[in-house]
Amino acid sequence: MDFVSFLIQVLNSLQYGLLLFLVASGLTLVFGIMGIINLAHGSFYMIGAYLAFALTSMTGNLMLSIALGVPLAFAFGALLEWLLFSHLYKRDHLEQVLLTYGLILIFEELRSLAVGDDVHGVAIPAIFSASIPLSDNLSYPVYRLVISVVCLALAGGLYYLIQRTRLGMMIRAGSHDRDMVKALGIDINVLYRTVFALGVALAALAGMLAAPISSVYPGMGSSVLIISFVIVVIGGVGSVWGALVAALLIGFADTFGKVLLPDLAGLMVYLVMAVVLLWRPEGIFRKG
């Protein structure tokens, strides 16, 4: 592999890993703070992508669609938490798995009823549709760089939110000791609803950003869901920074796996997970 194609693969790995981080961060937060294992999290990614498709065909502009779609997803998350997930906090993991598995079926069928089962494309916004030439015949699309930059900015924003704001302080306290947070007079229901809705919005945003490059298709949620689970496990359940490191690791493993060992591409991610778990059974950034 020459330097330019190596560079392209590195950029692809970063872009893929950062996108996965958006999905996995919500999953790990929701588990870390509310103790909920949410199989339907991949569906939010799928819903985001279809929302991008639907809104873009109405407005004609992906960026406008994202600006409209993210608040919609946030509101949807808050509603879902109020209707269903708030009843799950006291149940065991098994019942959570079951209920959210049922939700996947519901979301997939509603999607099928609303938009059908066809594969759809979403146009890249005109200002990002160019490519940067890297050599005589190789170039890199600007849009993928934009995704990486947006995701990095969001990771930075999430860091600021969690480490530097009052809400972040409550989130950190909530993941450490739920009952104490309640005893201190913080409205835990509002906190839970906010965190859950934030997770939904991040996953949906990832789906919207990915829509132009991956296209929009049935079942896109479940592949992302399982990879996100792997990331959460590798990173350490509840650790946002662990999720970032693990997402990048998986991004590289998957991208380079496809290039170097195409026959084992699907396996690569799980092999990485097996190795990490042999080394640290509770993830890289297991919280104390």
Partner: protein, 322 residues
């Protein structure tokens, strides 16, 4: 239900299962055979989930590995011997469960759920992406295994009736085996691990070995179910290992009521019955399935087998046992 009513009920169900092909049509006989196979699958998972407290979300892997094993040992133009194919399939599933168990049993709780899922996905991709098992198309099993021993055949699996009773016999065998296992000291240790693993450790039990043995046994029995499933339907696809299959079997165990072999069987009946009912109603049957699952979790804690007692308690004016 008191134990006498329960025993009479079980015997009645057994009699109905054995007599069914005499009265039922071929279509329903095949469907009931499918239910019996899934009941084996669900009971094998219940050993882990209900009795040992290990929530495995990757149980389809062992089911699928055994199904592929029978397809791979069957020559293209001849049947394989049943007495070779059956042990090979079950052993393959047990071996895979043993190796995966070495990894996943190092983890606990939510990690265990996710890691079993991830390993099952790994197995799925082995059959989906590599040419080993025909890729995503799977393999047709052109010949059902031959039961002949040195020229003498006690039964013929090509006969739907023989196959049905073979499946029913396997189901009874697994039910009886698990009853015995659970009554044995080994089974008591497993139940002890479920209620308090630390205590079992301090009592001097090497809990890891017990869990690994349970995991391997559950894998082998899931393999038996996978073997029968492949023989019944005559083909294997990577979908047998998909996480939807793992979800379905978990659903059977939970819907039926965990930690109760009869519950696992009831769950298999309920799931196949609901699927049959909903697919007859609409193309979008999964929507109804999803709503049913959500409603069951919200309104039926403890599963179906716990529901009669809850209803009785409510009728008697007492509180439910929540």
């Amino acid at each position: 239900m008191n134990s006498r009513v329960s025993t009479i009920f079980k015997l009645a169900v057994l009699a109905a299962v054995l007599a069914f092909p005499v009265f039922g049509s071929g279509f329903y006989t095949e469907m009931l055979a499918k239910v019996l196979i899934l009941a084996i699958f669900a009971m094998s998972l219940d050993l882990l989930v209900g009795f040992t407290g290990l929530v495995s979300f990757g149980h389809a892997a062992y089911f699928g590995v055994a199904a592929y094993a029978v397809a791979l040992v069957t020559p293209k133009y001849d049947p394989a011997s049943l007495w070779l194919a059956l042990p090979v399939s079950v052993a393959a599933a047990a071996l895979v469960a043993f190796v995966i168990g070495l990894f996943v049993l190092r983890t606990k709780g939510i990690y265990f759920i996710m890691v079993t899922l991830a390993f099952a996905q790994m197995a799925y991709y082995v059959f989906h992406d590599t040419p080993l098992g025909g890729g995503s198309d799977g393999i047709y099993l052109n010949f059902k295994p031959d039961a002949a021993i040195a020229g003498w055949a006690p039964f013929d699996l090509n006969e739907p009736l023989h196959l049905y009773y073979f499946v029913a016999g396997a189901m009874l065998f697994v039910y009886g085996l698990l009853k015995l296992v659970l009554r044995s000291p080994f089974g008591r240790v497993l139940v002890g691990i479920r209620s308090n693993e630390h205590r079992m450790l301090s009592l001097g039990y090497a809990t890891f070995r017990y869990k690994l043995a349970a995991f391997t046994l559950a894998g082998a029995l899931a393999g038996l179910a996978g073997f029968l499933y492949a023989v019944l339907f005559g083909f294997v696809t990577p979908e047998y290992l998909s996480w939807h299959k793992s979800g379905d079997v978990l659903l059977m165990v939970i819907l039926g009521g965990m930690g109760n072999l009869a519950g696992a069987i009831a769950g298999a009946v309920a799931l196949v019955g609901l699927q049959e009912l909903f697919t007859g109603m609409t193309k979008h049957w999964q929507l109804l399935m999803g709503v049913t699952i959500v409603a069951a979790v919200l309104f039926m804690p403890g599963g179906m087998t716990a529901t009669p007692a809850r209803i009785m308690a409510r009728i008697n004016g007492g509180k439910t046992n929540e």
